[in-house]
C-alpha cells in the first residue's frame, strides 16, 4: 500500500506470486532452456514429422492438364550458334542490333530501355545500361495482365558463367509461343544488362517508382507495357546440355515467391523426369534416417543463410518444356497468386515449413529475452524496496520477510478466507506494514530519494539509449561523406576508405563510450543517482532486452531467416550478461546492462576490471559481435574455406585477400542499399562478391542500425 503512494510505475505487490518467485530464482535456467529448446525445435523442423508436404493451393493453375508441344529445339541450337558469333563481335556488350532484329522478326512489340546508375559513393561516376524487351501480345487478352521471362545477358568478358543458352532458349520459346492462340496474358521477353541492376531498373521504370535513394538509379522510361505483372521467371542456363534444374527463389530483402509458383516448377520437372534440385541439392533418399535429416537440415540452413542476406540470388534456372508448361499453367491463372504461402522455408523440393511451424521456435529463442527483462524489472523493484533499509531487513532476517510474504502474496486469499472468521487479521496486516515502515530511517526522504533516483535513472538511460541510436544513424548516413573524404583528400579507393572509416568509427566508439561512462560513474550523479547506484543500468538493460526481442520478432515476420540468424547469434550473449547483484560491482553491471543495445561498442569498457574470469569472457564474447570485427572474422573464415592452400601458409596474401573481401562486402552492401533500397544492409547483412573470389559470402555488420531503419 505504501509503495503505491511512492509513485512507482507498477504495483510492486504484483510480482510477489509464487510463480514470480520461481521465475526470479530460476530465470537463468529458464532462459537457457528456452534458447536451447528453440534451437533444437528449429533443427527438428527439417524432419518430415515436423514439416509438411507441398501441395497446390491454386486450382486454376491446372498443372496436370498442360500438354507440351514445344518443337523448336532445332531453332534454339541455331540461335545459340548465332549468339556465340555475335558475342565474339561484342566482347563487352549486348549484341543489340542482332537481338532487336530477332525480336522484331518474331513480330513482337520490341522496345529498348536505357538506365543510368549514378554511383552513390564516388563523385560523379556514372554507369549506363540498356535492356531490350519484346512483348508478345496475348490474342485473348486486352493487355491487362502480363507474365515476364527474363534472361540476364552476360558478354564473354563477364566474370559470371555465360547465359547464352538461356537467351537462345528464350528466343526459341518466343518463336513457339508466338504461334499459339491460347495466351490470355501478354508475355514479356526481357533481356537485361548488368545482372540484377538491369532488372531492378526495368521494374522501377515499369511501375514508375524508385526503391533506392533518389537520384542513384535513374530508371528511365518505358515506351511499351503489358498490364500488371502476374508472375516472372528468370532463365539462366549455362550450357546447352542441361543435366538438372536448380530452382532459386530468394528475392530482394528475403522476399519469396508464392509457394504455388515454386511447387509448379518442381511438379513440372517431375513430370518431365528432369532432375530438379533446391540449393543444388537433391532430396534426401530416406528422410526418416539421421542422414536424411542432416541432408534436409543442411538444405534448410542454406536457404536460411541466403534469405538472411537479403540479396536476390538472381539466376533462376529452368528448361524448355518445363518453361512451356509453367507458362501455360500461369496463363490459366484467373487471379493473381494469393492462395498459397508467401512465408515458408524449404528443406527439400517437396516439403515445406510454413510460418505457423517456424515461428514458435524463434519465439522460444527470443522469449528468454522477455523473461530476463521481466525478472530484471522485478529485481529492480526489490532493490528499491530493500536497499534503503537493506541493512535493517538483512539484520532482521527472515522474520520480516515472512510477514511480508503473508501480507502480500497471500493477502487476497487470506482476506477472502478471513472475512467470515477473523476480520481483525486483515487490519493486523495493515498495522504490521505501517509498523514496518515506521521503522524506516526517514520515510519522507526515502520517498523523495526513490522518485528522484528513478527520474534520474530514466533520464540517463534514455540519453544513453538515444545517443547509441543516433550514433548508429549517423554512421549509416555518413557513408558518402567518408568516401568523398577518402577519395578527395587521401586518394584512397572507395572500398578502402569506407572500411577504414568504419573501423575508425568503431574504435572511437569502443574507447569513447566507456570513458564517458566511467567518468560519469565516478561522479555521484547523474550516472549513479545519489546513494543508490543501480538506477540507470537496469533501465537500460531492460530497454535493450525489450528492444532486441521486439526487433527480432519484427524482423522475423519480414525475413525469418535474418531474424533467426540474428536471434541465434545475439540472444545468448544478451542473456548471459546479467546485472546480477554480483560481487563485481555496480559499474560492471551498468556497462553490461546496455551492452545488448549498443552491442560491443561499450563492452570493452570493463577492461579496468580485468581479472575476473566471467566478466572477461563476457567482454571477449561481445568483442567479436562488434559488427566490423564480425565482418572481418567472417571474411577470414570464408577466405580460409575458399582457399585452404593459402590458409595453410597463412601469409600476407591470405590476409590481403580476406581484407579485400571484407571491405568489398561493406561497399557492396552500401551500394545495394542506395540502388535497390535493400534495407538489410541497414539491418545487418551484406553480401560480398569479391571480384577475385567470384563467389558469395554473407557477412554481418552494423546491427545497431538495424533497429532504426528496419
Amino acid at each position: 500500500m505504501k509503495f503505491k503512494k511512492m509513485g512507482l510505475l507498477t504495483d510492486p505487490g504484483a510480482g510477489r506470486g509464487k510463480l514470480t518467485q520461481v521465475l526470479v530464482c530460476h530465470h537463468s535456467k529458464l532462459c537457457a532452456l528456452s534458447y536451447i529448446g528453440g534451437v533444437i525445435w528449429f533443427t527438428l523442423l527439417a524432419r518430415d514429422a515436423f514439416n509438411a508436404g507441398t501441395y497446390f493451393s491454386e486450382n486454376a493453375l491446372l498443372p496436370g492438364l498442360v500438354k507440351e508441344e514445344f518443337d523448336e529445339s532445332a531453332i534454339a541450337k541455331t540461335y545459340l550458334s548465332e549468339i556465340n558469333d555475335e558475342a565474339d563481335r561484342y566482347p563487352d556488350a549486348v549484341p543489340y542490333p542482332w537481338l532487336i532484329a530477332k525480336l522484331k522478326q518474331l513480330n513482337l512489340d520490341t522496345y529498348t530501355h536505357n538506365f543510368t546508375l549514378h554511383y552513390p559513393l564516388g563523385p560523379g561516376r556514372k554507369f549506363t545500361g540498356k535492356n531490350v524487351y519484346g512483348i508478345l501480345r496475348a490474342p485473348r487478352g486486352a493487355s491487362t495482365e502480363a507474365l515476364v521471362l527474363t534472361v540476364p545477358y552476360r558478354p564473354p568478358n563477364s566474370i559470371h558463367p555465360t547465359t547464352a543458352p538461356s537467351l537462345a532458349l528464350a528466343l526459341s520459346l518466343a518463336k513457339f509461343f508466338r504461334k499459339q492462340k491460347y495466351w490470355a496474358k501478354d508475355i514479356i521477353f526481357l533481356v537485361t544488362e548488368h545482372e540484377q541492376l538491369g532488372v531492378q531498373a526495368w521494374l522501377e521504370a515499369y511501375h514508375g517508382v524508385s526503391c533506392g535513394r533518389d537520384g542513384v538509379l535513374d530508371a528511365g522510361s518505358l515506351s511499351g507495357r503489358g498490364g500488371s505483372i502476374q508472375a516472372a521467371i528468370n532463365l539462366e542456363i549455362h550450357s546447352d546440355q542441361v543435366a538438372s534444374i536448380d530452382v532459386k527463389i530468394e528475392g530482394l530483402n528475403g522476399q519469396l515467391p508464392n509457394l504455388d509458383l515454386v511447387n509448379l516448377v518442381h511438379r513440372m520437372c517431375l513430370k518431365e523426369g528432369i532432375r530438379h534440385t533446391f540449393k543444388d541439392r537433391d532430396d534426401p533418399r530416406d528422410s526418416e534416417t539421421y542422414e536424411g535429416w542432416m541432408h534436409a537440415f543442411h538444405t534448410l540452413m542454406l536457404m536460411v543463410f541466403t534469405q538472411a542476406s537479403g540479396v536476390p540470388n538472381g539466376n533462376h534456372g529452368l528448361f524448355h518444356r518445363v518453361v512451356e508448361r509453367v507458362f501455360r499453367s500461369l496463363n490459366n491463372l484467373l487471379e493473381r497468386f494469393h492462395q498459397s504461402f508467401f512465408f515458408y522455408l524449404l528443406p527439400a523440393t517437396d516439403r515445406y515449413i510454413s510460418i505457423g511451424m517456424y515461428m514458435p521456435p524463434l519465439g522460444m529463442i527470443g522469449g528468454g529475452l522477455l523473461i530476463k527483462a521481466f525478472v530484471l524489472w522485478l529485481k529492480m523493484q526489490e532493490d528499491k524496496e530493500s536497499s534503503p533499509y537493506s541493512e535493517k531487513s538483512r539484520r532482521d532476517g527472515g522474520e520480516v520477510e515472512e510477514k511480508r510474504e503473508n501480507g502480500d502474496s497471500d493477502k487476497e486469499a487470506k482476506i477472502a478466507e478471513d472475512k467470515e472468521e477473523n476480520k481483525e487479521k486483515g487490519n493486523n496486516d495493515e498495522e504490521l506494514r505501517d509498523e514496518e515502515c515506521s521503522k524506516l530511517p526517514n520515510p519522507a526522504s526515502f520517498k523523495e530519494q526513490g522518485v528522484q533516483s528513478i527520474r534520474n535513472g530514466l533520464a540517463w538511460a534514455c540519453a544513453v539509449f538515444l545517443s547509441a541510436h543516433v550514433i548508429g544513424l549517423a554512421l549509416l548516413s555518413s557513408t558518402k561523406g567518408i568516401t568523398v573524404i577518402g577519395y578527395e583528400y587521401l586518394g584512397l579507393p572507395t572500398e578502402f576508405s569506407l572500411f577504414i572509416g568504419f573501423v575508425i568509427a568503431s574504435l572511437l566508439l569502443i574507447v569513447l563510450f566507456p570513458v564517458v561512462c566511467s567518468s560519469a560513474s565516478e561522479k555521484p550523479s547523474p550516472c549513479k543517482s545519489q546513494s543508490n547506484g543501480t538506477e540507470w543500468a537496469p533501465f537500460l538493460n531492460i530497454a535493450a532486452l525489450l528492444e532486441l526481442a521486439t526487433v527480432l520478432l519484427a524482423i522475423s515476420m519480414h525475413n525469418f531467416s535474418l531474424g533467426l540468424v540474428y536471434a541465434v547469434v545475439f540472444t545468448p550473449s544478451a542473456l548471459w550478461i546479467a546485472p546480477t547483484k554480483s560481487r563485481f560491482g555496480i559499474e560492471a553491471v551498468t556497462i553490461e546492462g546496455f551492452a545488448p543495445k549498443v552491442k560491443s561498442k561499450t563492452s570493452p569498457a570493463g577492461f579496468y576490471q580485468l581479472g575476473k574470469l566471467r566478466k572477461g569472457i563476457q567482454r571477449i564474447l561481445w568483442l567479436p559481435l562488434q559488427p566490423i570485427i564480425l565482418l572481418v572474422i567472417v571474411s577470414l573464415i570464408y577466405t580460409a574455406v575458399m582457399f585452404p592452400e593459402e590458409f595453410a601458409h597463412f601469409d600476407q596474401s591470405f590476409l590481403t585477400r580476406a581484407f579485400s573481401a571484407a571491405s568489398n562486402a561493406l561497399t557492396f552492401s552500401v551500394v545495394d542499399s542506395y540502388a535497390y533500397g535493400s534495407w538489410f544492409k541497414a539491418v545487418s547483412q551484406s553480401r560480398a562478391k569479391p571480384g577475385a573470389l567470384g563467389g558469395k559470402e554473407t557477412t554481418s555488420f552494423q546491427p545497431h542500425i538495424a533497429f532504426l531503419s528496419g
Binding site: 513480330n107 491487362t144 493473381r336
Partner: protein
C-alpha cells in the same frame, strides 16, 4: 362459302405484298467487307451491314419494320432514343502498330446514347434501356446504372443529324455514356447480333462470321450504331441509319500457313456462298496500297476493279469484288499469296500514326497508385486533343495531383471539366481540352488511393483485380494517314474513298483498360472461422446449456404407486390452474 374465303385470303395477301413493296422503296440494305493487311502479319477485316431507312426518326415509325430489325426498333422507340452506339469488344486495338480502325471501341462493352429532348426522366429511361439491350444482346449491360454512367460534355457529340436545339447548345444531360471493361464477348453475343441482320446468317457476307473462327482473332469488336441522318443535301428531312459492324484482326502466324498468306477460307473457315438477296450492294474491298515490290502479294481471283482513292493527301488502292455478280457455286474464296521475298519480311511498313496514346498504372503496393496516360503527337504541328477520363468510384482520385507535362514542361489545359465521384453512386468525371506541342509526348497523370470495399462488393474472383475503363481521346487530324473511318456525310465504306474534308478527320481512340488490385481480404479466413466457430458452438452449447440451466437438488426417491402418479398429474394441473 369456300371460294369466297379463298378469294378473301388472296386479296389480303396481295394487299400485304403491296404494302411490303411500298416499304421496299423506303429502306435499303448494304453489306460490305474491307480487308486490310496490317503491320506484323496481321489482317484487319471489317464487316459493315448498313440499313438506311427513309423514315422520320419517330416512335411511330418503328411500328412497321421491313429490313430494319423490329426487336431493336421497339426498344429504341420505347425509350425515346435519338442515337445509340453499342460496342462489344474482346482485345484491344493497337493504334501504334495498326493505325486507326473504321470504328474504334474499347475492350469490353461500351454504350452511349443520346435521348430525345422531350425525355422526361433520362435516368430511368437509361436504366430501362440498358436492361432491354442486355436482353437483346445477351450482354451484362444491365449492370450499367448511375454508379458507372456519365454525361460527358464535349467528347461525345451526336454523330448524326442534329435537330434544332432551342438555344443552339447541346444539353449533355440527354447523353449517357458507360463502359463495362470486364465484359467478356463471346458467341452468346454474336448470335443475337446476327439475328438483327435481314439475311441473318443464311446467306451473304454474314455467313463468314463463324463463331469457331472469329474468336481466334487478336481483336474482335461487334458494334451497333443507330442514328438519324440527312435524307438529302438540304437536310430538311431525316432518315434512319443502322450500321452493324464487326472488326476482326487476325494474326497470320496463328491462323495462316506461314508466309502471311491468307484466304477467306483460312480466316473464316469457309468460302462465300453468295450475296444476301435483300442487299442493294454486296462488296468486298481489299486494301492493296501497300502491295509494293518489297511486300508483294497476288490476289486470287484477280479483282473486278481497282479503285484508286484520294483522301486527305493519301493515295490508296483498293481491289473491289462485287459479290452479287458471283455465281453461288463453287464457293467464292478470295486468297492472297505472298511472293517469296515478303515471306520473311516484317510485313507492311506502315508509318506510325500521327496521334496515339497509351495508359498504365504506376506505383506498387496497395495503398497509393497513379494513372498515367502518354499521348503521342508525331505531327509537325500542334494538335488540339480532348481527353475524357471515366474513373470508377472505387478509385478515389486526387485532382490536385493532376499533372500534364509535355517533353518535361508542364502545360495548362485549355478547358477542364471535373466532377468528383461519389462512392457507390457516381464515377469520377474528367474532361480536358489540351493543345499538344508538335512532335511531343504528353503525360497526363494523377494519383488515387486504393480503398477497401464492403465484403459483399467483391466478385467471386476478388484477387483477379478490378477494371478501370478506357480513357477516350478525340482530335481532328489534318491528314488521313492510316485512316479508314467513314465520313460524317456518308454511310458506306464506298463513300469514304474520295471524300476529302477540309475540317480534318475526326479520330476518337480508346486507351487500354487497366487492372487494379484493390486490397482484398482473405476470404477463406471468414469461412474457416465460421466453420470452426460453428463446430465449437455446436459442441459446447449443449453441455454448457445443460450445466448452466440445470440445478442439482437432493430429492427423496419414493416408491410411487399408480395412484401417486395420477395424483401428481392432478397436482400439476391444479398448480397450472392456480397460476
Amino acid at each position: 362459302m369456300r371460294p369466297t374465303s379463298a378469294f378473301y385470303v388472296v386479296y389480303l395477301f396481295v394487299n400485304c405484298l403491296k404494302f411490303g413493296f411500298s416499304e421496299f422503296n423506303k429502306d435499303r440494305f448494304h453489306e460490305e467487307l474491307l480487308i486490310k493487311p496490317l503491320l506484323g502479319g496481321r489482317i484487319y477485316s471489317y464487316f459493315q451491314f448498313t440499313t438506311i431507312w427513309d423514315e422520320e426518326f419517330k416512335s411511330e415509325s418503328f411500328h412497321h419494320c421491313h429490313l430494319f430489325p423490329r426487336a431493336l426498333g421497339e426498344v429504341v422507340a420505347r425509350h425515346n432514343v435519338r442515337e445509340l452506339h453499342i460496342s462489344l469488344t474482346q482485345g484491344t486495338w493497337r493504334h501504334e502498330k495498326w493505325g486507326y480502325p473504321v470504328v474504334d471501341a474499347p475492350p469490353g462493352a461500351e454504350l452511349w446514347v443520346w435521348f430525345k429532348d422531350d425525355t422526361k426522366d433520362v435516368d430511368s429511361e437509361w436504366k430501362h434501356l440498358t436492361g432491354a439491350l442486355s436482353g437483346l444482346l445477351c450482354a451484362s449491360l444491365n449492370f450499367i446504372g448511375g454508379s458507372n454512367s456519365l454525361s460527358p460534355e464535349m467528347s461525345f457529340t451526336p454523330s448524326g443529324r442534329v435537330e434544332d436545339y432551342g438555344n443552339g447548345k447541346l444539353n449533355s444531360s440527354y447523353l449517357k455514356y458507360a463502359t463495362l471493361p470486364r465484359e467478356v464477348v463471346c458467341t452468346e453475343n454474336l448470335t443475337p447480333w446476327k439475328k438483327l441482320l435481314p439475311c441473318d446468317t443464311k446467306i451473304g457476307l454474314s455467313t463468314l462470321l463463324n463463331a469457331g473462327y472469329i474468336y481466334n482473332t487478336n481483336y474482335l469488336s461487334l458494334g451497333i450504331h443507330l442514328k438519324p441522318i440527312c435524307r438529302d443535301e438540304e437536310c430538311s428531312t431525316s432518315s434512319i441509319e443502322l450500321k452493324q459492324t464487326v472488326s476482326l484482326v487476325y494474326d497470320t502466324a496463328i491462323v495462316g500457313n506461314g508466309c502471311q498468306n491468307w484466304s477467306l477460307r483460312s480466316l473464316f473457315g469457309r468460302g462465300l456462298e453468295g450475296h444476301c438477296p435483300l442487299a442493294s450492294s454486296s462488296m468486298i474491298y481489299v486494301d492493296i496500297s501497300q502491295n509494293t515490290s518489297s511486300f508483294a502479294f497476288r490476289l486470287d481471283p484477280p479483282p473486278d476493279n481497282i479503285i484508286t482513292t484520294l483522301r486527305g493527301g493519301q493515295i490508296g488502292q483498293l481491289a473491289a469484288y462485287d459479290i452479287s455478280q458471283m455465281p453461288s457455286y463453287p464457293l467464292f474464296n478470295l486468297a492472297a499469296h505472298h511472293i517469296p521475298p515478303s515471306c520473311v519480311n516484317l510485313g507492311v511498313n506502315i508509318p506510325p500514326p500521327l496521334f496515339h496514346a497509351s495508359r498504365y498504372i504506376i506505383g506498387y503496393g496497395q495503398e497509393r497508385g497513379g494513372i498515367v496516360t502518354r499521348v503521342y503527337n508525331n505531327h509537325r504541328q500542334e494538335l488540339e486533343v480532348l481527353y475524357f477520363e471515366n474513373i470508377p468510384w472505387f478509385l478515389p482520385v486526387y485532382m490536385h495531383s493532376l499533372h500534364i507535362t509535355s517533353n518535361g514542361k508542364s502545360i495548362e489545359p485549355l478547358k477542364k471539366r471535373y466532377k468528383p465521384g461519389v462512392e457507390r453512386k457516381r464515377p469520377y468525371y474528367l474532361e480536358i481540352l489540351l493543345k499538344l506541342p508538335p512532335r511531343s509526348v504528353t503525360e497526363i497523370s494523377f494519383n488515387f488511393d486504393y480503398i477497401f470495399l464492403k465484403w459483399q462488393e467483391y466478385p467471386p474472383d476478388a484477387n483477379h483485380g478490378f477494371y478501370v475503363g478506357s480513357a477516350v481521346l478525340t482530335t481532328y487530324l489534318p491528314y488521313a494517314r492510316n485512316y479508314t473511318a467513314s465520313p460524317m456525310d456518308g454511310s458506306l465504306i464506298a463513300s469514304s474513298f474520295n471524300n476529302g474534308s477540309k475540317h480534318g478527320y475526326i479520330v476518337q481512340l480508346r486507351t487500354e483498360v487497366l487492372l487494379v488490385s484493390l486490397p482484398t481480404p482473405d476470404f477463406s479466413m471468414p469461412y474457416n472461422v465460421i466453420c470452426l466457430a460453428c463446430t465449437v458452438v455446436a459442441l459446447a452449447f449443449g453441455p454448457l446449456h445443460n450445466i448452466t440451466t440445470k440445478r442439482l437438488m437432493l430429492t427423496n426417491i419414493q416408491k410411487r404407486g399408480a395412484l401417486d402418479w395420477i395424483r401428481s398429474k392432478f397436482w400439476w394441473k391444479a398448480k397450472v390452474k392456480s397460476d
